[in-house]
C-alpha cells in the first residue's frame, strides 16, 4: 500500500508574532516555523499503518528552514520516500498548496493520503478537503485511527460530546488526521544523524502557484481588549435582581 503524507510548516507560537507594515500579514523576519501538530500526527499514523500492514510512506513538504531536518526525522521514524518541493512559496495559501500537492499525488497514485485535519494558519480552509476535491477522491476529516481492509478503510471519526463514528471509505481516499493512534514518537538524535547519511531527499521544482480560490486578508491584528466586564457580587437574590435590572436597562427584557 502506498501512503502519501503532505505536510506543512506553520509559525511557531513560542515566538512572539508581529504584524508586518502592510498590516495584513505576519512579519516573517522574526518568524520561526514548526511542523503543524496535526501533520505530525498524520506522519505517525502513516508509520503505524506501515508497521502494521506494510507499505510505502512518502512524506512531502515545501522547502523552508528546517524542512530537511523534518524529512530526515520522518525517515528515521520509517518513511521511505522524502519529497521537497522547491520554488518561491512566500505568497502561498492552502488553495495553491493543494494544487502543488495534487500534481505530485496524481503522479504518485497513492492508496491513501493522510494529512493533518487543520492548522492554526488555515485562513482559506484546510488542505485535506481541497486536495480531495482536486483529486476527485472521498474525504473524511477529524480521523483518530483507522484500519485498512483490502480496498477500503474503516476510519474512526471523533464528534463532540465523546461520540465516535466508524466510517467505511473506499480507497484511494484523503483523510484529515485529528490524532494518530499514539502520540508522535520520539526519535533519538543518533538515529536522525544516521539517516542523514543514507536517506535521499528528492527535490521537485514548482514553477508557479495557483492562488485562485484563496482569501484576501484585509487586516491582521492582535486581539483587542473589548469593553470591560462587570462583576456582580453579593447573594444569589441580590445578583438576580441586578441582572434583571440590567436586562431591562439594555432592553432585552
Amino acid at each position: 500500500m502506498k501512503i502519501a503524507v503532505p505536510v506543512k510548516f506553520v509559525p511557531d507560537l513560542v515566538e512572539e508574532l508581529t504584524i508586518d507594515p502592510s498590516g495584513a500579514a505576519l512579519d516573517t523576519s522574526w518568524l520561526r516555523l514548526i511542523i503543524n501538530e496535526f501533520d505530525d500526527h498524520a506522519v505517525e499514523q502513516a508509520i503505524l499503518l506501515k508497521e502494521r500492514g506494510g507499505g510505502q510512506v512518502t512524506v512531502m513538504m515545501t522547502e523552508s528552514d528546517g524542512a530537511d531536518d523534518f524529512l530526515f526525522t520522518a525517515a528515521a521514524k520509517g518513511a521511505d520516500q522524502l519529497v521537497k518541493l522547491t520554488g518561491d512559496f512566500s505568497s502561498i495559501n492552502n488553495h495553491a498548496l493543494a494544487h502543488v500537492y495534487a500534481d505530485l499525488l496524481k503522479e504518485l497514485q497513492p492508496d491513501l493520503v493522510l494529512t493533518g485535519v487543520q492548522a492554526h494558519n488555515d485562513i482559506d480552509g484546510a488542505v485535506g478537503p481541497l486536495l480531495a476535491e482536486l483529486l476527485g477522491l472521498p474525504y473524511v476529516g477529524y480521523v483518530a485511527g483507522l484500519t485498512v481492509q483490502g480496498d477500503k478503510a474503516v476510519v474512526r471519526k471523533e464528534y463532540s460530546g465523546g461520540l465516535v463514528a466508524e466510517i467505511e471509505v473506499k480507497l484511494p481516499a484523503v483523510l484529515g488526521i485529528q490524532a494518530a493512534e499514539q502520540p508522535p514518537r520520539y526519535v533519538a538524535y543518533s538515529k536522525i544523524r544516521q539517516v542523514m547519511g543514507t536517506a535521499k531527499i528528492e527535490e521537485r521544482p514548482v514553477a508557479g502557484l495557483d492562488l485562485s480560490g484563496g482569501t484576501a486578508v484585509s487586516r491582521l491584528f492582535q486581539p483587542e481588549a473589548a469593553e470591560r466586564a462587570t462583576m456582580l457580587e453579593g447573594g444569589a437574590d441580590e445578583v438576580a435582581d441586578r441582572l434583571v435590572a440590567i436586562f431591562k436597562e439594555i432592553g432585552t427584557l
Binding site: 514518537r185 520520539y186 533519538a188 538524535y189
Partner: protein, 659 residues
C-alpha cells in the same frame, strides 16, 4: 625444638586421599573461575589498564585495608575480622603445605620450626578466634538484628547461599580448632601454651584420653579437610566468589573523573539492548555484588518509592547473565520504571565496597529506551524542547537572557567583547521565573566584586549534562558541539556557572580539544574572591544555617569546603545535617528526573531532606548552591508545611545580604 609433625595421626591412605581431593578441588575451582572469566569476556572491550600505579594503590588500600568496607562500623569490623582471619589462616595453610610438600619433600628441610613455628602457631590461633568473632557478628546480624537491606528479595534462593557460607566457614574454623586441640591433648608438647585456644580445647579433651582422642582427631580432621576442600572447590559457585571478583573489580575500577560518563555503544542501535552489549567491566560489576545493600540504604529512588534498588538491579543483572531461559533484559529482567527512577546522584557508587558503577549501567540501558523512543510524555517534550530551542522550558532561545533586562550597567555580551569570566548561566537560572531574582542577584554580586564578566545571551544552550544522563547521547553531542562552537569564538579565561550539572559536563565531558579552560562553580569563585579580598562584607548575618551539598558539586566533583567557607564568611554558622558531604541526600531532580512524571511517590527525596534539616536545633535557613535545588526545596518546604520554620536560600542570597 618446637615443630609440628605434619600429618600426625593421619594414616597414609588418608594422606594420599587428601592429595587426590586437593587435585579434584583445584579442577572444580579452576573450572568455576574459568566459567566466570569466559562470561566476562563475552562483554564489549573497555580499556582498564591505565594508571597502573594508582590502581595498585587503591587495590592495597581497599582490599587489604578494607577502607570503604570499614565506613560502616558493625559490618565493617565484622567483615574485616573474617577477611583478615581467613586470609592469614589460608596463608598459614599454604606455608605449611610449602614447608611439607616443597622444602621438606624436595630439599630436605622445614622452616616451620623453632621460634618461627611458635609465632606461626600463635598467630593462627589468635586469627582463628578473630574469624569466629566475625562470623558470630555476621550470624547475629543476618538472623537476629536483620537489617532491611539484607532481605532476600528479589530471589529467595539467595538465602540458601547466605546460610551456606556462614555455616561452612563456622564449621571449618571450629573443626580446625578441635583438630588442633585433640592433637595437643594427645601429644602434649611443651610449646602448647603458644596455641592458647587449642590448649584450652585440649584441656577439655584430656579426661577422655587415648585412643578415643586419636580416633576423634582423625574423624574431625577428615571433616575439616572435607569441608575446607568443599568450600574451596565450590567457591566460584557461591557468593564467596566475591573473594575473587571484588579485588578484580577494585583493580579495574574507572580511574577517570567521576563526572565523565563513558560514551554510548552505537553498534546495533544506541545503548544496551542485551547483556552482551555491556562491557566486560560492567559484567564484572554484576558478578561482584555481594548483596550488602549499602547502595539501597542511600538510594533516594529507593527511599521515596521503592521502585528502584541498586542492589536488586545488580542481583537481577547477575542472574540474567547465567539465565538459560532467554528472558529479555528490557522488560522481563529490568523494568523501564526502575531505570527512569535513578537520579544519577551517585550515592550508590560512592558507598559500594565492591566499587560497582551502577550508573553507567543504568544510563546504558536508558540509552536503549531512548533509542526505541520509549519514555514518558513529559520527558519526550523536554528533550524535544532542548533539541529545538536549546532549553527544556520550551521557550524561545531569544528569551534566554531576558532576566538581564534593566540591569545597569548591562551585562556584557561575551561574543562581542573579551571577558575574563564567562558566565554560563544554564537553563534553570535563565528561564525559571522564580529563579531569575537569584540570577540577577548573582549578577549584582559579580558587579560589586568588580568582576570582568559576560554571558553568551542566546548563543548559550542547555549544557547537556542531564540530557546525557537521560540517555540521549546524540542530543548531548549536538548541544556540546553547538556550545563548543560558540565558546571557541569567545575570548575568556575562566568559565563560571551557578549550576553544578553544567559545571560537571563542561569540566569533565566537553572535549575542549585538549585545551580545557579553568572552570569554576560560583561557590569556588566567591571563595576565591573572598580570600583575595575582592569581596568584602559589611555585615555579619549571624544565622544558623545548614548547607545541602549538590550531588554534581560534591560527590561528582569533590567541592565540599568552598561553599562552607563562603557561608562562614558571611557570618553564618553551618550546622551539618546527618547526611552531609559525601553522604548528602539527593533532592531528586538529577539525571533528568526533573523532566519526568512522578509515580507512586511515598515521600519525595526533597521532603525527606527538608525534614532532616528541620530537626536541626536552631537552624532556620537551608542554603543551596544549585538552581534546581532552589526550586526543589522551595516546593518541599511548602509541601511539608515547614514554610515558617525553614527558609530556603541560595548561597548568593547570603553573600548579597552580607555585602
Amino acid at each position: 625444638m618446637p615443630i609440628r609433625e605434619t600429618f600426625w595421626n593421619i594414616p597414609h591412605w588418608a594422606e594420599i586421599t587428601q592429595y587426590v581431593l586437593a587435585l579434584l578441588t583445584a579442577i572444580v575451582f579452576l573450572y568455576g573461575i574459568l566459567r566466570h572469566v569466559l562470561r566476562w569476556r563475552k562483554g564489549k572491550p573497555e580499556k582498564r589498564f591505565d594508571r597502573l600505579g594508582g590502581r595498585l594503590w587503591s587495590f592495597i588500600v581497599q582490599v587489604f585495608g578494607q577502607r570503604r568496607t570499614l565506613d560502616e562500623a558493625y559490618p565493617g569490623i565484622m567483615h574485616f575480622t573474617i577477611f583478615w582471619g581467613m586470609l592469614v589462616l589460608a596463608i598459614g595453610t599454604a606455608l605449611a603445605t610449602v614447608d611439607w610438600d616443597v622444602t621438606h619433600l624436595f630439599f630436605g628441610f622445614q622452616f616451620l620450626t623453632g621460634w618461627v613455628y611458635i609465632i606461626f602457631e600463635l598467630t593462627l590461633d589468635i586469627l582463628g578466634l578473630l574469624v569466629i568473632v566475625g562470623l558470630g557478628m555476621a550470624i547475629y546480624r543476618r538472623y537476629a538484628s536483620r537489617p532491611a537491606r539484607l532481605q532476600n528479595f528479589p530471589a529467595k534462593a539467595l538465602a540458601r547461599d547466605d546460610a551456606y557460607v556462614l555455616i561452612m566457614l563456622t564449621l571449618i574454623t571450629i573443626s580446625g580448632y578441635l583438630t588442633e586441640g585433640l592433637r595437643l591433648a594427645v601429644t602434649q608438647p611443651e610449646w602448647a601454651v603458644w596455641s592458647p585456644i587449642g590448649n584450652v580445647i585440649a584441656a577439655a579433651f584430656l579426661s577422655i584420653g587415648d585412643p578415643t582422642n586419636q580416633a576423634l582427631h582423625l574423624v574431625i580432621w577428615a571433616f575439616h579437610i572435607l569441608t575446607a576442600f568443599g568450600v574451596l572447590a565450590f567457591l566460584p559457585f557461591t557468593k564467596l566468589f566475591h573473594i575473587f571478583s571484588v579485588p578484580l573489580n577494585i583493580f579495574f575500577r574507572s580511574m577517570k573523573p567521576a563526572g565523565a560518563l563513558p560514551a554510548a555503544n552505537m553498534e546495533g542501535g544506541m545503548g544496551v539492548k542485551e547483556w552482551k552489549q555491556f562491557t566486560w567491566k560492567q559484567l564484572l560489576d554484576f558478578d561482584s555484588c555481594t548483596r550488602c545493600g549499602r547502595c539501597q540504604d542511600v538510594c533516594p529512588a529507593y527511599a521515596s518509592a521503592q521502585i528502584l534498588s541498586p542492589r536488586n538491579m545488580m542481583i537481577k543483572l547477575d542472574a540474567h547473565l547465567w539465565d538459560k531461559n532467554g528472558h529479555s533484559l528490557h522488560g522481563e529482567v529490568i523494568a523501564a520504571d526502575e531505570l527512569w527512577a535513578c537520579t544519577t546522584c551517585r550515592a550508590c557508587v560512592q558507598v559500594c565496597p565492591a566499587f560497582i558503577d551502577h550508573i553507567s549501567t543504568f544510563v546504558d540501558m536508558r540509552r536503549h529506551l531512548v533509542d526505541q523512543g520509549r519514555m514518558d510524555k513529559m520527558l519526550q517534550d523536554a528533550l524535544a524542547n532542548v533539541g529545538r530551542y536549546g532549553n527544556s522550558f520550551g521557550q524561545s532561545d531569544r528569551m534566554r537572557a531576558k532576566w538581564t533586562q534593566g540591569i545597569q550597567p548591562p551585562v556584557p555580551d561575551a561574543r562581542r567583547e573579551p571577558v575574563e569570566y564567562l558566565w554560563f548561566v544554564g537553563d534553570y537560572a535563565s528561564y525559571n521565573a522564580t529563579l531569575t531574582e537569584i540570577t540577577r542577584m548573582t549578577a549584582a554580586v559579580f558587579q560589586k566584586a568588580g568582576l570582568n564578566f559576560g554571558i553568551l545571551y542566546d548563543g548559550e544552550r542547555n549544557s547537556g549534562n542531564d540530557v546525557r544522563r537521560v540517555g540521549e547521547e546524540g542530543l548531548f553531542e549536538m548541544l556540546a558541539e553547538k556550545n563548543s562552537q560558540v565558546l571557541s569564538k569567545v575570548q575568556f579565561q575562566t568559565i563560571v556557572t551557578t549550576d553544578p550539572h553544567t559545571y560537571n559536563t563542561l569540566k569533565n565531558e566537553y572535549k575542549w580539544d585538549g585545551n580545557r579552560p579553568n572552570i569554576l562553580h560560583y561557590a569556588e569563585l566567591l571563595d576565591q574572591l573572598i580570600c583575595a579580598g575582592r569581596l568584602k562584607f559589611s555585615k555579619k548575618l549571624g544565622y544558623k544555617v545548614t548547607y545541602h551539598d549538590p550531588c554534581y558539586l560534591g560527590r561528582y566533583n569533590d567541592v565540599y569546603d568552598a561553599p562552607r567557607r563562603v557561608i562562614e564568611a558571611t557570618g553564618c554558622q553551618v550546622i551539618e545535617m546527618p547526611r552531609c558531604r559525601e553522604r548528602a541526600f539527593c533532592c531528586g531532580a538529577g539525571g533528568g528526573r526533573i523532566w519526568m512524571e512522578e509515580k507512586d511517590i511515598k515521600e519525595r527525596p526533597s521532603e525527606s531532606r527538608i525534614r532532616e534539616a528541620v530537626n536541626l536545633e536552631g537552624v532556620n535557613t537551608f542554603v543551596v548552591a544549585c538552581p534546581k535545588d532552589a526550586t526543589m526545596y522551595r516546593d518541599a518546604v511548602k509541601t511539608t508545611g515547614n514554610e515558617s520554620r525553614l527558609a530556603v536560600k541560595d548561597l548568593i542570597e547570603l553573600v548579597h545580604a552580607a555585602l
